[in-house]
Symmetry: C2
Subunit: 275 residues, 2 copies
Amino acid sequence: MHARHPTIGVFDSGFGGLTVLKVLLELVPDADYLYFGDTARLPYGSKSVETVARYAVEAAHYLEGHGAELLVIACNTATALALERITAAAHVPVVGVVEPGAEAAASVSKNRKVVVLGTEATVSSHAYRKALEARGLDAREKACPLLVPLVEEGWVEHSVTEQVARIYLDEAFADGFRDADALVLGCTHYPLLKPLLHRVAPSHVSIVDSAESTARAVAEQLRSLLPASPAIREERRARPRLKFFATDSVEKFRRLGERFLGRAIEDVRHVDLKE
Amino acid sequence: MHARHPTIGVFDSGFGGLTVLKVLLELVPDADYLYFGDTARLPYGSKSVETVARYAVEAAHYLEGHGAELLVIACNTATALALERITAAAHVPVVGVVEPGAEAAASVSKNRKVVVLGTEATVSSHAYRKALEARGLDAREKACPLLVPLVEEGWVEHSVTEQVARIYLDEAFADGFRDADALVLGCTHYPLLKPLLHRVAPSHVSIVDSAESTARAVAEQLRSLLPASPAIREERRARPRLKFFATDSVEKFRRLGERFLGRAIEDVRHVDLKE
């Protein structure tokens, strides 16, 4: 790995992984970044293990081929369904979003009971439940298939979204999970709903953002490698080194992606994985 | 074409096209049917022309290779973005959903003003507006990206869906289109929302279901070919000849598909288009 400026490859089915990249740019500004959004085949959340694994391995190879020295699977569905397959297929270290999310939940939950929100595929895989049970916590996983389209519609503070979130959370924080005290955002679209979810979730609940936890885990892993000079970090923070690849429309990636990344997206290249 | 029992290939990105197949089974029970759902790559509604055209042509070739003598593109997005490309690539007649939908709207609209609901991609293509303007009608197209996920969540009679539909319809039937008197369902998921849309749309509005209009157009095209014997038709209606192909999970196709088709789905085969 390049000691001063490692190249980090960030992968997602679409735009959500940009919430991970956003925190990475804050915590590890020294790195160069490649972001791959498989927007032609999104969403992964409703697809099967086989399909998601095949797509994710193709994307991982693409990023490696373009110089990534560390891969961040910034997609809960791809992590939940295919992290082992990606790790086996890759020649560089791979970090997923589930373990960091579970670790953060374990560190904040006093009641040892956690609710996890995710896509249908993430929930069906029970990846979060396994990771949380391995840490001695009880978990209830709740599939929330409408939240991604609501975020993509831009309705992050809309009354309809609030009602939908309330329905999902009422179902999740019921019966044996009334006293759950951590809520894991198990999808990288959900950080955009954090203010709304803070209002809707029971007041005793801490929200764990798996995007943020993952960026922290990556920062921790790279800490010894990177220059400590605050001047360099500030310079990079102002002008990060970013390249984007998208399998569907570049124009759309730019437009929708800016909402997730919170800054302008410039250098986007179209990729056809069949080439 | 086989005179007594032509094989009709029906294609959609996922499940919505089953609403077209449902009406076809009623109107043309004598035919054999192949249904192809490109569920690994759905939804098409938010993707670009290039991507949708490539996917749709692959599916058309697959159906032809399995004996389809007539192709029904039972997907508004694929029709709107790629009908010409599909027709050029196919060796059999191809019927899309846009022209039959526009024709039906033209025949019911007295004010010559029509509102069309569709996915983002269908609306951006302006395929409906062009088809309606060619018939001397004014059209307003309204993208409704939340309706497909709401239908797939099964919330076809939910208060949230009603609010979302009200927001979309209020925006569509505004200003110069207050007196529009036809509402075209320009997505094959929407027929499941017909009862709800009847309640929410202004009372003077006729709803035009492009799925139904397309099935009628196919029936018309095949009328001279098919046996008139009511006994044969009844027998086939009770036991239609159906084969399904899906690019994602077969189990999920069966489960979700039954909601759209209104009958049990049995013979589903998994297809990997990269094979």
